[in-house]
Structures are given as C-alpha cells and as structure tokens.
Symmetry: C2
Subunit: 165 residues, 2 copies
DNA sequence: TATTGTTATACTCTATAACTATA
DNA sequence: TATAGTTATAGAGTATAACAATA
C-alpha cells in the first residue's frame, strides 16, 4: 500500500512489527473492523517480502509489474497500468526505471504509433525468476500461517477487491 | 500500504479499481500468492474507505491513530508509534497536524519531563465519532462481502501479522 | 549512557494537469 | 475529438540520523 510505502527495509535496524508493543493498548471498535486487520496484515506481508527482496531494490508492486510483463509480453503501458491498478503517469517512471536497469525492451507499435509494446529482456526474466524464488519462500510462510484455509482465504480477498472495485 | 498511499481520492475522476481491465491479462504464479491478493484487497479497501472519509482529510492510518488516542487517553508519542507500528519520527508530524487541527491536547508529564501525554479534544472526539460512522458503513460492505466467514477471516489476518511480526 | 521527542533530510509511491503525437 | 504516453509538479507516508533535554 500500498500504500505509501517505505524505504529499503532490507538492512534496516528493525522495523517495528505491526501490533508490536500494542498489547496494552486498547483498540475499541477497530478490533472488529476487517479493514483494520487487512491493513495490518498487508503491512506485515509487505515488510516481510521486502526483507527477502528489498536487497534487489524490487518491492511487491514492482514485482507484480514484472510478472505481468512476463506473462503478457507485448503489453502496452496503459494496459499494464490497468492490470496493476495504477495511473499511466505512475507507470511511465516505473517503466523508465526498468528500462534504465535493462530489464525491459520497448518496441514501438507499427499499427498505432502512439503505443509502445513492452517485454522483459533476458536480464528481466532472470531477475524475475530470482524474485519468484524469494516470493515463493515468502508465500510459503503465509501458506503455513493460513493453513488449510488458503483457497477460502484467497476467495474472500478476491471478493473484497472485486466487490469494492 | 504499504507504504506510500495516494492523494485524496474522494473527488478524483475515477481511480482505477484493482484488477479492473485486467481480465485478459495473465497473472501466472501471482494468482496463487496470498501476498498478491492481500495487496489488492487492502488497496481496494483503502480506496473505498477514502471515498467515505477522504473528504475530511482523514485516511485509514490517521483514523487508527485517532482511535488509539481515544481508547488510550494520556498515551505518549512513543507508545502511540508502537501501537500503530510507525517510527516516532513518523508520529511527530502526525501529532503536530492533529494539534494544528485542534484534535488533540498535549500535556507534559510531571514525573518525566521528556514525555508528553496525548488525548483527544472534544473536537477530536467528535471527528472520531463521525469517522467511526463512515468506517462502520465501509466495514459493513466488507462484512457483506466476506459473509459468515468474518471471524475466521479476521483470525487468519491476525495470524499473518502476528506470525510475520 | 539510555530514552523521549524534534528536526533535517531524503526517498518511494501515487496522482492531477498540461502537453505532444498520433488516431 | 479522443487516446497513448510523457513531463512537470505536488503531496502523503515513511524512514534514518543527528540532536536537545531529561532520566
């Protein structure tokens, strides 16, 4: 949360864990709000993921973008933005950064010269594979925490973002 | 979430909904990652909440801080930071903003003159009640989406942030 | 020496608006 | 007129480090 996010937490002191030291703090109605717990869980998940991959300077949002590029070679900037729910003006600098790092190729469309088709380079694919490994390790921890309820849990999460969209 | 969030979305054009227009986009392993869905759900929830309360310039993080202040009058800045999992240097400007808006009172501790005890003013309590109303409306939507699985769902979210902390 | 809170600073993510070039 | 992408700019949220006051 994507928010707002934070700097590289990979080598940071020790970022306070959500709810750490909050034992003696009263939460009131908050404790019964799905949105509140959703925020804490996402925050924790983000930080944990960043501990794995932050070293590479790639955070969850970037990772998702790379994955979309991998699975949809030739996608345009606008399509990518819609896929990851970000404005095109947010996607442009992201793409520029990827380009600067040699992770993607830009191929101008022949049929519509306004468009640019994007795809991962070998370096991009390689980095993605590496990130995927870390992401799997990370998500295995989440899997363990969620236990046998994973399918149900994802179904509910999906209902939330489909329902609120 | 993380991290970084966005500007007041209350009166914005129409913020792209997560996964909107992503129908034809392939997600690959992402589709099976809890962390990915968690991020989308939190993003959607955040935006929906901001649609309700963004007008007041209060977003989920602020709301949570106000609630903690309400339920724990006299709490210190550091304690508040630990409760909402944010560094003290993040909390200071937050508190200053609350103060500027007349939402809180600062009472220097007698026993330890480094500390400052914080509590909501009448205006702060009033705003909180108002926000609480909006939050309830918002969370009722989430409740509906999640259906009878709410307790289980919150339990899993809590396991995630407790387990990753 | 250690802790509380402030300040200075910097970085990431995000968006709106205005623009260029195409269509 | 409408759309794809860029640029300029701004704001929110976050953190690290250095600091002053106090313990």
């Amino acid at each position: 949360m994507r928010g707002g996010q934070q700097k590289s937490t990979a080598d940071a002191h020790d970022v306070p864990a959500p709810s750490a030291g909050a034992q003696d703090v009263q939460l009131g109605p908050l404790a019964n709000f799905i949105g509140f717990h959703l925020r804490l869980a996402q925050d924790a998940s983000f930080r944990a993921f960043a501990r794995h991959t932050g070293v590479k300077g790639i955070q969850p949002g970037r990772f998702a973008a790379l994955m979309v590029l991998h699975k949809n070679p030739g996608i345009t900037l606008g399509e990518l933005g819609r896929a990851i729910a970000r404005d095109k003006s947010t996607v442009t600098p992201l793409i520029q950064d990827f380009k600067r790092r040699g992770l993607i190729e830009r191929r101008p469309s022949k049929s519509d010269r306004r468009r640019v088709h994007l795809s991962l380079t070998d370096a991009g694919e390689s980095l993605l594979r590496d990130l995927l490994h870390h992401a799997k390790v990370h998500d295995r921890v989440l899997d363990t925490l969620v236990g046998g309820k994973k399918a149900e849990f994802i179904r509910l999460l999906r209902k939330i973002y489909d329902g609120l969209g």
